[in-house]
Every structure is written in structure tokens, then in C-alpha cells.
Symmetry: C2
Subunit: 120 residues, 2 copies
Amino acid sequence: MSPDAVIVFAHGARDPEWAQPIERLAALIAERLPGTRVRCAYLELMQPDLATAVGVLVGEGARRIRIVPAFLAAGGHVKRDLPLAVEGLRRAHEGVELELRPPIGQSDAALAAIAAVFAE
Amino acid sequence: MSPDAVIVFAHGARDPEWAQPIERLAALIAERLPGTRVRCAYLELMQPDLATAVGVLVGEGARRIRIVPAFLAAGGHVKRDLPLAVEGLRRAHEGVELELRPPIGQSDAALAAIAAVFAE
């Protein structure tokens, strides 16, 4: 699907600086998808949470929302809790498509780019 | 420096599958640095820890070890604990160079590659 909104979903942390690369990632995605709203949402310790971010975007008129997990590896949060949360959000927002992407580490292209940076 | 060993330092998790993208990242770095030993080490819940990985590599003859944090964003572990741990390892292994790289999210090239995957 071609999304009309993207949510970069990250863990969150106490330190506000933690979110800088997440916000930068969101900005880089927005550059590649002109006209698409790109927002961040957090599992814990930062706001908004995923349900809030989805709610606001739906309120703004979004109907095809892509959720991208900014996690390198998939622990319980990403493997179990996130798909369940997205299922619940699908029931809460009938007529809205919610696409859940796999986390970063499942993309060999992304891992290869990271490997190139670290090998330099 | 051109390292003779690289340690991919990641968080760790209870689920053994969690480590798959970390191990894949290590393999991709090894492909780019032929002749360089590339190992993984973990902050918690998985083995080996960083001190063990450094110790084994030094025992095997490594003298220039690059530590690359497989973290997207830098929380307290990466910002404070990891530099302190590396300082301690430098004192423990005189004559061994330990280079500590910034985490993934500080590389715009890596973030751009991740953005491209998520925007597709």
C-alpha cells in the first residue's frame, strides 16, 4: 500500500536526547514520501504512545497508516506486544488500514548499510 | 585505525532469536573486512559480555579492537556505562587499542538507508 501517514515506533527513554536519531529517521522518511505525514510514537517513557499517534492521524483524515518499528532486533515488545496492539487498533479504527512493517534488522539492505558504516 | 578485530556490542534479550540480526550484522562487517575477526558481545541476558569478548580477542593476539554499538539511539548504557567500561578495559589491557564507535543513529548514512527501506 502507499501510506498517507507513517509512524516511526521506537522504545523511548528517560533522556530526551535519546529521541534525536528517531526524529531524524522520521524526517528522512518524510523527505522520501512527500505529502505523507510522518510521526514518532513510543513504547514507554516518551509521548505519544502508539494508540495516541494513530488516533490523531485518523482524526486528521489518515486512512492508510504504515507503522515502522525502529528496533534493530525484535524482542517480546516487537514480536508479540506490537502485533497485538496493532490488531486492537484495527478493531478500534474500522476502515483504516494499518500496515505493520518488520523491524530494521530483518532488512538485509539496512543491515548492509550499517555494516558499511562500522567497517569504514 | 584499521582494526584487527571488531566487536558488535548489542543489548541482549531472553529470546535466542533476538540475536539473529546482530549476528547477521557481524557477518556483513566480516565480509567487508577480510582477515579481521568479528565477534558479538552483549550488555545483558546473552553471552559473552564485553570484557569477556575483549579478553578472548586479546588472548588470540588482537591489538587494535573496534567496538561498534548496535544501538539505534543512545540511552544511559551507551552514553555513560559503555565509555566507562571501555576506559576500564583499556587499563586492563595495556598496549591494546580499543576504539569505541558512536551508535548507529549518529550516522546519517545508516539512518538514510533505514529510511529508504521503510519508505519503500
